[in-house]
């Protein structure tokens, strides 16, 4: 591995141990990260995609020094995340999705003053930077209010301001747009773009494919604790360039029928999305529109709405890579 990398991850593995049972207690082991290796270049915006429980947050927590790896090693800006934890902490900022991690009884400005002090930011510098950051994240004029009165989106944006107080070189954003309304999420993505234009190295985990497609230069797809693909969004889409996607809107499709569709010889993967009372079946097949009659025959007797055949997207590539578990 070269030193020009901001983040170097080398065969990371993490096991969680929990105790089960009341009288006859036994230790249960859960492998959250099996074997993860990747590098992120300085100034790169790297995405880590994967379904729930794939190991994204665990990986980020190991890289931000909050968890000790069971095996393997990782370096951030050349410092080991275990032995050089304090050096790593000076150079990174991190956000975990959600509203926790702030002092709700304090105002936004007091939260920032507090964390500026914990990051050893000179008070004079902090005095200038806090209004600038509040402005940057769209909290101008709201800094004096107590955080408990902030909306979820405002708290998320305050987290961004907090993480930029010490002008870190590397940012870890773990599902930062989760729970935000569409407008808030769009504004947030603009903040991420601005940070990238300042040459920050960013590791972003997200569930939203279009977000990764729009923002990330490279994407690592993680599933069951392993990186199953690592490439640019364009190249990842080529994984499914030989396929077409048949998108069928239907009502009340039972699991047995979905299994039957999956079992069709020309079907590569099936992903189901619930849309209000409807279900959208995304069926990947190399036969494209020719496969539609056979699929419709399998759905025989069900109420079916719109049927379209389209080109695959990054989401389809992702579904194929994670085996339809998304």
């Amino acid at each position: 591995m070269q030193n020009s990398y901001a983040i170097e991850v080398d065969h990371l593995r993490r096991i969680y141990r929990t105790t089960v049972g009341v009288f006859r207690r036994s230790i249960k082991e859960v492998v959250a990260v099996e074997d993860v290796s990747f590098c992120v270049a300085a100034g790169e915006l790297f995405g880590l995609l994967g379904p729930n429980g794939a190991g994204k947050t665990t990986t980020v927590k190991m890289l931000t020094t909050l968890l000790i790896p069971t095996q393997g090693a990782a370096r951030v800006m050349g410092h080991d995340v275990v032995k050089g934890a304090k050096e790593v902490q000076k150079r990174i900022g991190f956000i975990f999705g959600g509203e926790r991690g702030l002092y709700w009884r304090l105002s936004g400005i007091d939260n920032l003053r507090y964390f500026a002090s914990l990051y050893h930011v000179d008070p004079d510098v902090a005095k200038q930077r806090i209004p600038y950051l509040l402005d940057l994240v769209g909290l101008h004029g709201r800094g004096d209010e107590r955080v408990e009165g902030y909306s979820r989106g405002m708290k998320q944006r305050l987290h961004v301001a907090r993480t930029l107080l010490h002008d870190p070189e590397v940012l870890f954003l773990d599902e930062p747009t989760i729970g935000l309304d569409p407008v808030g999420a769009r504004e947030f993505r603009q903040v991420i773009r601005n940070l990238q234009s300042e040459r920050k190295t960013i590791l972003l985990t997200t569930h939203y494919m279009f977000e990764a497609d729009q923002l990330c230069q490279r994407i690592g797809v993680i599933n069951h604790g392993r990186i199953v693909a690592l490439d640019t969004p364009e190249n990842l889409k080529r994984h499914v360039s030989d396929l077409s996607v048949i998108e069928i809107e239907a009502f009340g499709v039972p699991a047995t029928t979905i299994d039957k569709v999956k079992a069709l010889p020309f079907v590569d993967a099936v992903h189901v999305e619930n849309r209000d009372q409807k279900q959208a079946l995304m069926i990947q097949s190399p036969r494209g529109s020719e496969a539609v009659p056979d699929v419709m025959a399998t759905l025989n007797g069900l109420r079916v709405g719109r049927v379209i055949v389209r080109e695959p997207t990054l989401e389809d590539a992702y579904v194929r890579l994670v085996g339809g578990t998304a």
């Binding site: 009884r105 002090s117 914990l118 907090r162």
Partner: protein, 273 residues
């Protein structure tokens, strides 16, 4: 040249650490004034104890009144140390801020120290409230027998109590079972350490146990310099014992913090979710 640079770096680092401790203390105080339980622990409860004490011992003379004022203040100090100081890390964990605190370059020990400074400042208020209660409400003419030595004793008391809290906090995080004994640890210390009446009233077999508790030496120094006019040698002994205990606790707490940080990062218990 190198030595000068090193010295400047060292000074800058100390200044930054002090600034951090005071910032943590300031922010903790701001949060405390919004918390009803903390107000009860450090103000209402000692106030009730002072009221009862003044009522019961009011006819015993000004020295007894001073004893009650200082003793009730000590109860506030001990309760604050035990509940607020002892839970200082767990509270951060429950509110989801511990991950953020562990992820900053400032050592967690300094952050907890700042929080304990805030606790002490707040709980000293209980002593002032008890004093004002005696003077204004009950109209007693009371004065400290050795004010200068009392002030120094307060300082040593703060150091001893803060050091003790630094030991309790990581123990409570690593051993949730011990935390269940928190309530049981409150009143026995009031009694064993002579906060509200001299330990001479207790069975003599309990005296060695009192000697092992730093709040006993704090209570002896504070009572000795406020109402008892104790000889200087006795006060010096109390100060020495408090400093000895503080040194032991600071050493033990530094080891416990390091152990705790490895344990919570290994067990993934920085957050409760």
């Amino acid at each position: 040249m190198t030595t000068l640079t090193q010295r400047a770096t060292w000074r800058a680092s100390w200044r930054a650490n002090w600034r951090t401790i005071w910032m943590v203390a300031e922010m903790s105080l701001r949060q405390m004034v919004m918390d009803g339980f903390i107000i009860f622990t450090v103000l209402v409860q000692p106030l009730l104890i002072a009221l009862l004490g003044l009522w019961m011992l009011g006819d015993k003379g000004p020295d007894y009144i001073m004893f009650v004022v200082v003793g009730s203040g000590l109860t506030g100090l001990w309760s604050s140390l035990l509940f607020i100081g002892g839970n200082s890390i767990n509270v951060e964990r429950w509110s989801g801020t511990l991950e953020t605190l562990v992820g900053v370059p400032t050592p967690l020990t300094l952050i907890v120290l700042g929080k304990n400074v805030a606790n002490i400042i707040q709980s000293l208020a209980s002593m002032v409230v008890a004093y004002l209660l005696a003077v204004v409400l009950f109209g007693y003419q009371i004065q400290f027998s050795q004010p200068l030595l009392f002030a120094v004793s307060i300082l040593f008391t703060i150091i001893a109590f803060v050091s003790f809290a630094l030991v309790l906090a990581p123990i409570f995080v690593m051993n949730p079972g011990v935390q269940a004994w928190q309530n049981a640890m409150e009143f026995p210390v009031y009694i064993l350490c002579g906060f509200l009446f001299p330990i001479a009233l207790l069975p003599s077999a309990l005296t060695p146990l009192s000697y092992l508790l730093p709040p006993y030496w704090a209570a002896r120094a504070l009572h000795g310099t406020s109402s008892a006019n104790a000889p200087l040698e006795e006060i010096l002994l109390c100060w020495a014992m408090m400093l000895l205990f503080s040194a032991i606790y600071l050493f033990v707490s530094s080891r416990l913090f390091a152990k705790m940080l490895i344990k919570v990062r290994t067990d993934a218990t920085l957050d409760v979710t």
